[in-house]
């Protein structure tokens, strides 16, 4: 269970980016966080694994406070929090397998990391997960030779290698074409239930948020102004979140193509 209380983030002396957020995520629910650019979505996600230092507030993962951790404790906490990035953030010049195994860097020692002598269990887990998302045959390809959708699958597998207790996805589909981004959303949705893992997804695409997630959280100017079921996310909520700022990527009405057949090759 992830519990965020009164989270504040301020850069320097500027106006706070996050103004006292409260959020509780339990079980294996998939939560999407929507909001205009600059609403604080990305900052909130990065506060959870402390890529961004929160100014004040509390973040608890399964009862453990994350905000004050330092050094090795912080690293131990981070390995329980998987993260998928908008730009994939793969190690471009390394192979897919090395990228996937890099998810274990919080567990293995330095010698194992540098010499690439990972425990056999890790290698097997890597193959299982890669097969699950359909990239096992690319194991020895360089990460920058893959297409966008394949690269994001590597990113997802890398995050899952951490055996995370929560998965954060920061605009995981924003760099992908519409069809591929649907596949990634379906993948995240089904992985959440298979691994009974709570997933937080920052997303710009409201239609996808409504289709593939069970709960929508709307942010505006660092405050939460909507928290509810996709069915309740109506025109008013949309206007409240994006009103006067920008039009969301897709109109609220057009529902994406249903693609229930699992895309694992």
């Amino acid at each position: 269970m992830l519990e965020i209380t009164n989270l504040v983030k301020r850069y320097g002396h500027d106006e706070a980016v996050l103004k006292g957020l409260d959020l509780k995520v339990e079980g294996n629910s998939v939560v999407s966080i929507v909001g205009a650019s600059g609403a604080g979505k990305s900052t909130m996600l990065r506060c959870i694994n402390r890529l961004v230092e929160p100014t004040s507030g509390s973040i608890k993962l399964n009862g453990n406070e994350l905000v004050n951790l330092k050094g090795a404790d912080l690293r131990r906490a981070r390995r329980k929090i998987g993260m998928v990035f908008q730009g994939f953030n793969l190690l471009d010049r390394l192979t897919v397998m090395e990228n996937v195994l890099a998810g274990r860097l919080g567990y293995v020692n330095l010698y194992q990391a540098i010499s690439r002598r990972y425990p056999q269990a890790d290698i097997e887990r890597a193959f299982v997960l890669m097969e699950r998302v359909g990239i096992a045959h690319y194991a020895n390809k360089r990460a920058d030779e893959l297409s966008g959708g394949e690269r994001q699958r590597v990113g997802v597998v890398r995050a899952l290698m951490q055996e995370p207790e929560v998965l954060l996805a920061d605009e995981p589909t924003a760099s992908l074409d519409p069809r591929t981004s649907e596949q990634i959303m379906i993948l995240l949705q089904s992985l959440a239930s298979e691994l009974s893992l709570p997933v937080l997804i920052n997303i710009h695409n409201v239609a996808q948020a409504k289709t593939y997630t069970e709960r929508i959280v709307g942010l505006r100017h660092g405050k939460m102004i909507f928290d509810g079921l996709p069915a309740d996310f109506n025109k008013d909520a949309l206007d409240a979140i994006y009103g006067g700022i920008e039009a969301p990527d897709d109109a609220i009405t057009d529902t994406p193509v249903e693609e229930r057949s699992h895309d694992s090759a």
Binding site: M97, I123, E124, F127, E194
Partner: protein
Amino acid sequence: MVDHAQQLADRVWQRYDRKQRLIRYAVLFATLMVVVWAVRDIDIFWPWVWDAPNQISALGGRMWPPSAEGLNGIIAALIETVHIATLATFLTIFLALPVAYIAAQNTTPNRACLWLGRFILVSSRSVNTIIWALLFVAIFGPGVLAGILAIVFRSIGFIGKLMGEAIEEIDRRPVEAMEATGASKAKVVAYAIVPQVMPAFFAIVILRWDINIRESTVLGLVGAGGIGVILQGAIDTFAWPTVATILMAIIVLVLIGEAITSLLRSKVL
């Protein structure tokens, strides 16, 4: 997913395939052989190597604290060093531009000039400043003239080569347009080529001036003037605290030179 894992057990993964590994080992082995040969064959008395850290720190100890004695002489020598670099860079401009002109494919009058130009550039660049200085000291005797000439002769190759490349990269069309007006060769150069290579020219000259400041600090070691003369003198008389002062003065000079070049770059370019 768990039952999946059963069939997949004992899978292995290796970072490189066989061919890649062979190539890597071959390269590694070749490098190692060269190193082993170099280490075994080189004329080094090994006990000195293990003693080197002590010797170096002992030398450092003798230099500390730097002595302020003779600071006026050092500053005068620094100014002389700057003069050598600046005058040499200035003179080089007049010699390097014609060479660049005949060594650029698109402006050279004929093939003989092209090869002559290239020959001048290559021989200028391949001989280090200090070797040029050695030669000019032998001819003109010790002094700043040898130093200035050494820097000029080395800089011709540098400025000439880069300017030649800049001339080769110009846009042909203005040249054609000027030729179409019936302008003479010199007029075409003045109107269609000079304006295009002007920015490159300033950038190259400023860059070379910065390099020349560094180079002129060592000319004195072979007797060709500048701060190197008193550095050599201080080393020969084992005046280590003075050596330390001179070294610090050189760092300050080089940093000032860098500051001036970056200022000029932002102002002129």
